[in-house]
Symmetry: C2
Subunit: 204 residues, 2 copies
DNA sequence: CCTATGCTCAAACGATCGTTTGATTTTCCT
DNA sequence: AGGAAAATCAAACGATCGTTTGAGCATAGG
């Protein structure tokens, strides 16, 4: 590992921070390269274009995050006694663990931006590379909520995933409770978000 | 009432649509004025600047929306038997009624963007002009949820309002169920969102 | 009818954007 | 050590951004 962080890594770190702060269009390559301490042309040299840099920022975190989500899902899904709460836990816990790291919390803000912006190219990239994750969770939700129509289920999943992403994007700033340990607080938060998401998905 | 819509109104309508589609920075004044069928300079003539146009887009909808929210809140708040669900209904129902209009649904998308972007100027404008609404609802929530710390309550309110805005921003596209009347469907949706929001606010 | 006022228009302003260029420096292999 | 390959650099490219200008058009009041 490079003790002086490589140019690529410094660009990726600065991009994550600036994208979270000013958005993908709002953060210019000149601000970005200045913050990273590299030359302006370095972005196009190492990544080809700004758009591909955006994709790499997502890839760096989402590969590991979604792998852990699928692993957690495999542990609970497909059984006769699988509960909605278990599936939601598999979706929420890996993301919340990521967002407890400072840089991870920044990335969740970036993810929340991607959700809000309706950039067709970005949605296509996310769908192509990580669509199978949502699809596997959706299949499990459909099995657990058979009384919902397809359209209604899709809308509720979009509602819940958007809400969860928003929730964890504002998470880096209110940690450290002091009276309870960090792991206990995290466990409380997971339980709270699972109940929240379950209420968004399940019908009365 | 101008039968041929005035230049100002045509700019506001086109701005609402383009801001929802491409964001505040992403929508240029040239795209905007072309869509509105007016001259490029008309924006700066009638509104002074692009930033003030953004503010007017919000003002046009939020004045009425928040007035109805406060009126609904006044009808249920401050009593001994006030429930969390009643307060949430007062917050949710006016917004959902707005989002059932096509243009209203577009505006909810604009509102969701304002939530995701951390533009300081925009947040200050919204806080200055509509902060008292959130503050009044927050006071009622604090009264109904006395066991929550201030920081925890604020975080949960931010979580829930963000989730609700996101929910109603994607609402224009899945209406018309066919088998149930529109008002019945709306009533179902209100009930669903109220339960969802209540789960996000209340502790176990 | 004439003029003052409100409005629209094409054109241009300077600034900033993402990207490219070509030269220069650094790195690594034989 | 020497030379190919990789990386960094300052500078410039054309495009597009929000904004301003000044002339031209409309219309209502005296």
């Amino acid at each position: 590992m490079n003790h002086p962080a490589s140019t690529k890594d410094r660009i990726l770190a600065a991009a994550e921070s600036l994208f979270a702060q000013r958005g993908f269009e709002g953060a210019s390559l000149r601000q970005l390269t200045a913050a990273a301490g590299v030359n302006l042309a370095a972005v196009n040299y190492h990544f080809g274009s700004k758009e591909r840099l955006v994709e790499e920022v997502f890839r760096r975190r989402l590969d590991a995050l979604n792998q852990r989500r699928l692993a957690a899902l495999a542990r609970v899904a497909g059984r006769d006694d699988t509960t909605l709460e278990q599936v939601l836990d598999a979706f929420i816990r890996p993301a919340l663990e990521l967002s407890h790291d400072d840089h991870g919390a920044l990335f969740m803000r970036v993810l929340a931006r991607a959700f809000a912006e309706h950039d067709d190219r970005l949605r296509q990239f996310l769908s192509e590379n990580y669509g199978h994750v949502i699809r596997q969770f959706t299949a499990e939700f459909a099995h657990l909520l058979p009384h919902l129509s397809k359209a209604e289920l899709y809308w509720r999943i979009d509602l819940v995933t958007g809400a969860l992403t928003h929730a964890m994007s504002g998470f880096g700033m209110i940690q450290r409770k002091g009276d309870v340990s960090e792991s206990a607080h995290r466990e409380q938060t997971v339980a709270h978000l699972v109940r929240f998401a379950a209420a968004g998905l399940s019908a009365p």
